[in-house]
């Protein structure tokens, strides 16, 4: 992204004074500059406000490109306190398959973010990646705790199995951390569904990038490697939301948006809507989904306009603006983004 620095050289007060004393022609130009100037100042202030304070040391020595992983064995405890540290960055494999899967999965996740989006870990400042494996007793879940840790259960064998087996699941959980450090979308209602969708999108991209799959080769299923017989063959389908398993209640367009009090207002149900918009965008373009579609979605996630209570429509508008900005107003990329949101009946604002 680039800023027109000329628009910010003169103070707003001076520009207003000049505008009052200028000819009609010059006044219009100055007022236009003021409008631009104001939007840049707001944007800069918002960006500054979003920056999490970081230690001086990390600013000096951080060069990026290498994850800092720590994998803990929770020993089936339900405590949030880290268990035994079994594998640190650079150490060889442990004897436990799940711990190694977590280590490798976070390595592949870091690689996508670094190689393609030039992002250095969860906070883009080399934040340590802490995974808590074998969490709980037959615990059929994986989650991000909001405080820098990801927890993985072994599953109950019926709904879910070992959750570290899913590379898209590992990418999904780490992306919740990325979202928290960027748009910080509130985990409830439509913004929560958008939060969930962003995790599904980048979780899928981690898997596709690792496998070298194009958008047309990918299966666009989420969680297919961790499901038990009750949820087979997958948790969700970005290609056809609502069809992934016999209990799948995901929605595919705004006409069927679900209003509910459970699941934080249906965050995993309504996420099918932006999920499918991404799928349509990616498959309309063909090629690798982590390239143009991924870059557009990533740009949108970092855009200051996308914040706590953002709606699908707002996010859609921001993706379209970034598609036009990156690739051109009438580019195939911009048209594919528009087609994506139209397919799910989200009016682009």
């Amino acid at each position: 992204m680039s800023y027109q620095s000329l628009a910010c050289i003169l103070s707003p007060d001076l520009l207003y004074k000049l505008a009052r004393e200028a000819t009609d022609e010059h006044r219009a130009a100055i007022l236009q500059t003021l409008e631009l100037d104001q939007s840049f100042r707001l944007r800069r202030a918002e960006l500054a406000a979003r920056q999490v304070p970081r230690p001086l040391a990390s600013m000096v020595v951080g060069v990026g490109g290498t994850p800092d992983r720590s994998i803990y064995d929770q020993g089936h405890s339900s405590s949030y306190i880290p268990g035994a540290l079994v594998r640190k960055e650079g150490q060889g494999p442990a004897s436990d398959v799940s711990l190694n899967q977590a280590y490798d999965g976070f390595g592949f996740t870091y690689k996508l973010y670094w190689d393609i989006y030039h992002r250095d870990s969860i906070d883009d400042q080399g934040m340590p990646i802490d995974a808590m494996v074998h969490y709980g007793d037959v615990y059929d879940n994986a989650f991000w705790d909001g405080a820098g840790h990801m927890f993985f259960g072994d599953g109950d064998g019926q709904l879910l199995t070992d959750t570290t087996k899913g590379l898209d699941v590992i990418g999904h959980e780490l992306t919740h951390g990325v979202t928290q450090h960027e748009a910080n979308l509130t985990y409830s209602g439509q913004s929560g569904a958008l939060n969930e969708s962003i995790s599904d999108v980048f979780g899928s991209l981690v898997k596709q990038y690792h496998l070298g799959q194009s958008a047309l080769q990918a299966d666009w299923l989420v969680g297919s490697d961790i499901i038990g017989p009750e949820l087979a063959p997958a948790l969700r389908s970005m290609k056809a939301p609502g069809t992934a398993n016999k209990h799948d209640d995901q929605r595919a367009d705004m006409d069927h948006y679900r209003h509910t009090s459970t699941d934080s207002g249906g965050v995993h149900t309504n996420s099918g809507i932006p999920n499918h918009a991404f799928y349509v965008t990616a498959t309309t373009l063909g090629g690798y989904a982590w390239e143009a579609p991924g870059n557009i979605w990533y740009d949108a996630l970092l855009d200051p306009k996308v914040m706590h209570r953002s709606t699908f429509a707002l996010f859609a508008g921001v993706t379209l603006r970034h598609a036009r900005s990156r690739y051109g107003a009438t580019s195939n990329e911009a048209q594919a983004v528009q087609a994506g949101w139209e397919a799910v009946k989200v009016r682009v604002r």
Binding site: A142, L159, H172, Y187, H247
Partner: protein
């Protein structure tokens, strides 16, 4: 007493539901149900706003003409309530 249990959320976003008669619960679990009629038992309040994919739980306890509703986020469940929720989870089935 009739106890209706719902677990929602989690990575799968699946609602699990169970309805049981409290007489069918263990003695310890019945004591917790009785306690919940009068007390909103909660954990130490470590709930973090940025978390995602955690479970949430709802209990509806019907005793005579009155109904008491309790709900928790996963990291907000009181230690004494956890075994009851675990037992009900084992009995629960997907809502759809």
């Amino acid at each position: 007493m009739r106890v209706r249990f719902v677990r929602s959320g989690g990575l799968a976003g699946l609602d699990l539901v169970a309805t049981v008669d409290s007489a069918d619960l263990s003695g310890d679990q019945q004591k917790v149900v009785l306690a919940l009629l009068t007390k909103d038992l909660r954990g130490p309040g470590v709930s973090r706003p940025g978390g995602a994919d955690q479970f949430s739980y709802q209990l509806e306890i019907q005793a005579g003409d009155s109904t008491v509703r309790r709900q928790w986020q996963e990291d907000d469940v009181h230690e004494s309530v956890r075994p009851l929720l675990a037992a009900l989870t084992r009995q629960a089935k997907p809502d759809r």
